[in-house]
Symmetry: C2
Subunit: 341 residues, 2 copies
């Protein structure tokens, strides 16, 4: 009987808990709303209750490796404290790991959600054949995770992988991080809506304007729907997404020369609307990509992704994530299975 | 008696060969001109002769670990072939490693010169207390090297560390690599001279203009001399160097969260003219740097560089290289001492 662990994806909207065995099979998944407004004690209590329930239920089938928890925000890996967490208001400065361990009476592993997603895609998803990979999660913001030798690269203080704050336009849109022109300002769902509203305000985007006024919840998805219907202004916005993402990826390819870069998150469902520009930028801006791109005749992002090349990979693959919103959940479950973590 | 190895720094101008013991002590160093015009066979013959001479001479004092050679250009780590080498014309496509091994009758380790310099600074220089570091070498071009866990991070095909081609100005100066606005176009000696000539052409730089017309070998050093004498246009050029370098470093800090970034190469002797802008850009553009910068009261780039912090480092240090032009030589000598390389 394979051993299993419990993975938790603690998002600002959903709280998901899964039991996953060491072969990556899902034993059971629970999805709860994260009732952030009721305060962190309430959220942590419900989470611990669900963790106890799931682990008790499956303990007859195998022994529990441990508990891994992905949380949005920057975690101090040494103290288990949340440094910053825009999606969990009031949690900054809270010793989250200690509070959970106290309730459960056992050790848990806390991880940044974008890092957990990268580990999930590395374990079971698009990068399962690559030892080294980077993942960009294009969601409300842009998260990043770096996996080297199949382990999350935390850097010195657990803050590595902040790819959303790579500068793609030195004098561009101000970012709450203090910089200007961060990738996140051009490649997140929030950025797509902002760029759409800017187009509408310029008066040159009748299609977007109609969509926005008829839809009180005007979203990145609505902009995408217009783009696939051929609306020029909407298409232009996704080209800007592609330019920004391609530029940031080119920097990463030049700096790290990894075999695999995975693009996930909600915005990645609009992949076909921006991927061509991403590959154009990559070929133009990264000589390392140009030297290692999939052979012509193969589409970019395809090709060697599923084969293991003898002597190790020699092709740079940039491709879509495979696990959708479960990447972080699987990654969180993977954490306790890795020795020494 | 400590064992030793032979390091070679095969530059476009100088060919240097050193015997270095495993504690990092220099036993002997030979500097020869690289007579590139006489062809690669001539250069390789002289190099092998010097290697044999040095190793024979010191073999009485300890046994030879091996031979490491730093070469400019991109090396195919699998075949030992030089892919591209602007400073060694006619060497591209040559199986350099095989030719050297054939002459010496023993295995050698070939490494990119910027990677070797990073390993040298990591072993004995500015980053000797850090397990993980990146180095940028600001010379004729801008080279880069990444050392993770005290080993060179080669990436998939040996092309990692191309920090000189990080985009710092998306619509900026074209680069031979195919991109526009690469760091190298703003922070190399070549770039400094180009920017000076642009200032002169604009008619607004009388100081630079006088210096250029009186000096047939007008160089980055001449621009620096004017800058320290207070020439505004010359100072402006070094501020541009600082902006570009700070921006590229901010991307690296956000992506990798390393404890140590080392700046070397000839241009780094003008450090005081551009370092203040580098740190300004870092604080503004990298939240990871802002969160981990040396405490106020300590100068940026100083502080924890020499101390080992309990529980590992928590401060990001950006500092000058210590080994000067010997970094690559020591790094090359280090290569054979590392098991599994």
């Amino acid at each position: 009987m394979p051993n299993f662990s419990i993975g938790v994806d603690l998002g600002g909207t959903n709280l998901r808990i899964a039991a996953v065995d060491e072969h990556g099979h899902l034993l059971e998944k629970i999805t709860l709303g994260t009732r952030v407004a009721l305060g962190k004690d309430h959220v942590i209590d419900r989470m611990c209750e669900a963790v106890r329930g799931l682990s008790g239920k499956h303990e007859s089938a195998g022994s529990l490796h441990g508990i891994g928890i992905g949380v949005p925000g920057i975690i101090d890996m040494k103290t288990g404290m949340l440094r910053e967490s825009p999606n969990l208001p009031g949690w900054a400065g809270v010793p989250v790991r200690a509070e959970i361990e106290h309730r459960l009476g056992t050790r848990v592993i806390l991880e940044n959600d974008a890092n957990a997603a990268a580990l999930g895609e590395s374990w079971l998803g698009a990068a399962r054949d690559a030892d080294d990979m980077a993942m960009l999660t294009l969601g409300t913001g842009v998260g990043g995770g770096l996996v080297l030798g199949r382990r999350i690269w935390h850097g010195m203080t657990g803050m590595a992988g902040e790819f959303g704050h790579i500068t793609v336009d030195p004098e561009g849109v101000p970012c709450p991080c203090g910089n200007r022109g961060c990738l996140e300002r051009y490649a997140s769902a929030t950025a797509i809506v902002r760029m759409a509203r800017e187009s509408i305000a310029s008066g040159a985007a009748p299609g977007l304007s109609r969509a926005a006024s008829s839809d009180p919840e005007f979203s990145a998805k609505a902009v995408y729907n217009l783009a696939i219907q051929g609306d020029e202004e909407a298409k232009k916005i996704f080209r800007r997404v592609g330019h920004a993402l391609g530029m940031a990826l080119a920097d990463l390819v030049n700096a790290l020369n990894l075999p695999m870069y995975v693009v996930g998150g909600g915005v990645s469902s609009a992949w076909e609307a921006f991927a061509p520009v991403v590959f154009e930028e990559l070929r133009r801006r990264s000589m390392v990509y140009a030297a290692t791109a999939p052979p012509s005749g193969t589409a970019d992002g395809q090709g060697a992704s599923a084969q293991v090349e003898p002597g190790g990979p020699t092709t740079t693959i940039v491709t879509l994530a495979l696990l959708g919103s479960d990447a972080g959940l699987y990654g969180a479950a993977r954490l306790p299975m890795m020795s020494g973590t």
